[in-house]
């Protein structure tokens, strides 16, 4: 076997990370040891999503490598390690530890430069003052945030894509924000004058002042050297305490220059189409590289370069042949997209423009002279058509008869959606991850993917900027339609409709019983799937007792006896302990009950106490004692609200900024008993330390000094998900209102046994859709959802107490219909660690002629 070689990667940014991933995935690590040297103090993170760092709770959330190391023996990652020199003859690099300053050398057989780019700061007088920043790293954002505490206004120099990102950040930090751009319009690289003007109007509405066509003369400062404003040429000065430069980027090619590698005229390590530099052992990828002399300031081309290098090292044929520089973003909430030949530079090309100044929409298509092919376009204010249009450019498929219909609003004859059917298999759908239509169809056909979520997992499509998700979904559905395979949404053999459709059917017709629903919309007699589903829907809407005669036979195992069945047929008992707060008296009662009925007792993961091993016939006696002591059902058995976990919060904790216990109790009491598609859990933490693990819950509330941040869609279990921010800094009432809406929207539209995270994923638009419905109320459903929740709250009653008061309901809690008090002989216990545990039977038990009367007490 040949000796192992060493591959050294300089820079652990987005592209360097992708290279290592590809090296591991494609088995390059069988031949090479990989050493990655990164200057930043943390492992690669999602720079594209940098601005979301302000709404994230910690930097880790942006990480592309949570945990900070590769789970592979052959890969070593050294952070805070800057490469300061390359010795091409000795084939070594010199590194300097950023923390202690020590230098070492590392030998390489192959060297990959992935050093990215640095923000360009033009030589404006005053740029050295305190309060001047760039916008590239998490440290930059920390510094800007720090400075914003004492500032009232901020200026971004540069009105390009990144400048507007930075402006967005300043707005989020509560600063009066200005954007100063030398060119006559915003985003001069992507937009034409009309598109730029439309964007300005949107952005000004958000309170940002836009100054285009002006030159910065100097950054002014007070005597202490702290920034106090900007002097402009031929315009009044602007006051600000924070200045952020976003005037473009420059490839970080210094290392390459110093060791004599060829660089491009406009900067960047000059590389060929395999990303080889002028030294055969050195490669360059990402923003520091200039394939054929051109550098690319986007992540997708960098990813392609990373794949090409790995391929080349494996002697593969991969080539980098340029990239699609299309962009689609949401800038300060405004959709902007630019793709293909946006400026109509192609000979004889024509422009089709639709513009609606009132609605703030500008759309332009660039088409060939004969109108048969799409060359490019610009969309501002409404970029819904982007997913359809962009692949048309790259695949060159013919345009429809009336191409203007592609950009007209639906009410004026335009069509949205459809169209993916016409795309050829090679059409690139996800440009971030280079996934074609064919890849997606393949995933559906051969890898068993059934929906967007599984296609995402399988192909990576839609996992970066998300702009292609609508197209991905359309392709899946189109494929199903073509192959005659219905996306089977039928609940079971008795109902051809989905749970959410059934929910609407019940709401519209007002059915109150399973029999009515079945008669009108089903066939047969029902089964263990549709019966509990309909029971849950009826309970969500009317909140009648689940053990009411006509509902009882529909209930799932646990609901049927208001307790959780255990492996030996006994039950567990969980009284509600809202927010985990319990008095000593309460604890004593629970202890006494458990002792008197001989129950196994355990603290649950949900901050309450579970008592196991209760015989069916004992449940009413046990609950009688608990209800008398003021306890109520904890719904541990229901597909309904379980617990709202809380930390101790500002009531006691020295860090707490809000009363998390009070809020958790308020929420638990509000939503208790709400029957839902799956179980629901909540959490409330008193500060960002997050001791309540709220983001692991379906809804998580985390205190801020201004109020509460609301996160949704978290869960533990087999596929853990972190809840995502729905809205920030809410006051108590708004928090409750948004939660009412969120939960009811979920209860109405989710599938059976679908928790909130997969439900959100399944929505067209995902979390954005939830935000639109819950926060922006685009459907105008807000008050209706709140009313439904109010009705639920008003109709709540403790179902165990109600059961104890009704002899008819109690009559079912017997071991045997003909021997109500005789314990089932199949149940027996042994003892372990001083408590009972079930004995497993291999055979059914037959009683002898004598029967022990009464169970262990």
């Amino acid at each position: 076997m040949s000796q192992r070689e060493r591959l050294v990667v300089v820079g652990h940014g987005m592209v360097g990370h992708r290279l290592v991933q590809a090296a591991i995935e494609r088995g390059l690590t069988e031949r090479y040891d990989v050493v990655v040297l990164g200057e930043e103090p943390r492992a690669a993170y999602d720079r594209v999503a940098l601005t979301s760092y302000f709404s994230a709770t910690c930097a880790e959330e942006l990480s592309l490598l949570p945990g900070g190391s590769y789970d592979h023996d052959a890969v070593e990652l050294r952070l805070s390690t800057e490469v300061v020199a390359i010795d091409r003859d000795a084939r070594t690099v010199t590194t300097r530890d950023k923390v202690c300053g020590t230098e070492t050398t590392v030998a390489y057989d192959q060297l990959v430069l992935a050093t990215g780019a640095a923000p360009f700061v033009p030589p404006v007088p005053g740029r050295e003052h305190e309060g001047v920043f760039v916008y590239r790293t998490i440290e930059d954002l920390d510094a800007i945030r720090e400075a914003s505490h004492t500032a009232t206004s901020g200026i971004v120099i540069g009105g390009g894509l990144l400048g507007l990102e930075a402006a967005n950040a300043l707005v989020q930090l509560g600063l009066q924000t200005h954007v100063v751009e030398m060119a006559p319009r915003l985003m001069p690289v992507q937009l034409d004058q009309a598109g730029g003007s439309t964007l300005v109007r949107h952005i000004e509405k958000l309170g940002v002042s836009v100054h285009t066509g002006v030159m910065t003369e100097a950054i002014t400062a007070d005597e202490a050297g702290r920034v106090n404003g900007l002097a402009l040429k031929d315009a009044a000065p602007v006051e600000a305490q924070v200045v952020v430069f976003s005037a473009g980027i420059r490839p970080r090619d210094l290392l390459a220059r110093e060791c004599g590698l060829e660089v491009a005229d406009r900067g960047g390590v000059l590389v060929d189409d395999q990303c080889h530099s002028s030294d055969e052992r050195i490669w360059a990828i990402g923003e520091c590289a200039a394939p054929a002399g051109r550098m690319y300031g986007l992540v997708a081309p960098g990813y392609d370069m990373a794949e090409v290098v790995v391929d080349a090292l494996l002697d593969g044929p991969g080539r980098f042949t340029g990239a699609d520089m299309s962009t689609k973003l949401k800038l300060l909430g405004v959709d902007v997209a630019s793709f293909g030949d946006a400026f109509a530079t192609t000979e004889g090309s024509l422009e089709l423009v639709y513009s609606d100044a009132v609605a703030g929409v500008y759309k332009k298509l660039v088409v060939t002279e004969d109108g048969s092919r799409l060359l490019g376009g610009i969309l501002v204010g409404d970029a819904a058509a982007y997913g359809l249009l962009r692949p048309m450019v790259s695949s060159g498929i013919p345009l429809p008869e009336n191409p203007e219909e592609l950009i007209l609003p639906a009410s004026r004859g335009g069509s949205t959606g459809s169209g993916v059917a016409a795309l050829p298999d090679e059409a690139q759908i996800c440009s971030c991850n280079n996934v074609s239509k064919g890849d997606i169809v393949h995933a559906v056909e051969h890898d068993g993917c059934e929906d967007v979520a599984s296609v995402k997992k399988c192909t990576n499509a839609g996992t970066t900027c998300g702009s292609c998700v609508t197209s991905v979904k359309a392709i899946i559905e189109d494929h199903f339609a073509k192959t005659g395979r219905e996306v089977n949404r039928a609940l079971c053999e008795h109902f051809a409709v989905s749970r959410s459709e059934l929910f609407e059917i019940v709401a519209i017709h007002g059915y109150r019983t399973f029999a009515d629903v079945l008669e009108a919309h089903g066939t047969g007699r029902g089964c263990d799937i549709c019966k509990p589903t309909v029971a849950s829907i009826l309970a969500s809407q009317f909140n009648e007792h689940v053990l009411e005669g006509r509902h009882r036979g529909l209930q799932d195992t646990n609901d049927a006896f208001l307790a959780n069945i255990q492996k030996n047929g006994t039950y567990s008992v969980v009284p509600r302990i809202p927010g985990g707060e319990v008095t000593p008296e309460g604890l004593i009662v629970i202890g006494e009950v458990a002792r008197d009925f001989g129950l196994y007792t355990k603290i649950t993961g949900g901050q309450r106490i579970d008592m196991f091993g209760a015989r069916l016939e004992d449940l009413p006696l046990i609950w009688g004692r608990l209800v008398d002591a003021g306890f109520e059902s904890g719904h541990a058995y229901g597909k309904s609200l379980r617990t709202v976990k809380s930390c101790v919060g500002s009531e006691w904790c020295r860090y707490g900024v809000q009363e998390s216990v009070s809020m958790a109790i308020r929420l638990e009491l509000r939503y208790r008993g709400l029957r839902s598609p799956h179980k629901l859990k909540g959490g409330v933490s008193g500060c960002a330390r997050e001791c309540a693990e709220a983001r692991g819950k379906d809804f998580g509330v985390i205190a801020t000094d201004k109020g509460w941040n609301l996160y949704v869609g978290g869960n533990g279990g087999a596929t853990p998900a972190h809840a995502q921010l729905l809205a920030g800094d809410l006051d108590d009432e708004t928090l409750v209102r948004y939660l009412d809406r969120f939960l009811m929207y979920y209860v109405r539209t989710a599938d059976r046994l679908q928790r909130t995270a997969p439900w959100i994923d399944s929505l067209d638009g995902g979390l954005d859709r939830v935000k639109a419905v819950v926060v922006d109320d685009v459907l105008g459903l807000g008050s209706e959802l709140e009313r439904e929740m109010d009705r639920h709250v008003a109709s709540y009653f403790d179902e165990w107490k109600a059961t104890l008061e009704d002899p008819e309901k109690l009559s079912r809690f017997v071991s045997f219909v003909n021997a109500p008090g005789v314990p089932d002989p199949n149940i027996s216990f042994t003892t372990e660690r001083d408590q009972i545990r079930p004995v497993n039977h291999d055979e059914p038990v037959v009683l002898g002629s004598t029967i022990p009367v009464g169970g262990p007490r």
């Binding site: 047969g524 089964c527 009882r552 021997a819 059914p844 002898g848 029967i851």
Partner: protein, 122 residues
Amino acid sequence: MTAILPDRTETEEWTEVCRLEQVPAEGGVAALVGGEAVAIFRDHLDEVHALSNVCPFARASVLSRGIVGTRGGVPFVASPMLKQPFRLSDGVCLDDEAVRVDTWDVKVDAGVVLVGAKRTPA
């Protein structure tokens, strides 16, 4: 508490277990017959069936607490433990015909449900 126990010898063949209306429509109850736990079900046609109460998969005495429904028109009970379906008429598991729970002769006489001898599978 003293339990009144049905004794097989007293009734020769049949054990009275309860009145028909004590068995919920499309539901079940457990009865103690000859020392064994037997699940009594009533299907949508008011036919009564007697199956062992013990789910062979879970090895727990729970079948009477399962949901009763139909599959392709055939009445079955879904084990409350892990949802395996058992045909009410003969106790055969619909997902795995090799598994079968014991069944008993059962009849309704003047509104009273009577359980007879354990059937031997055909």
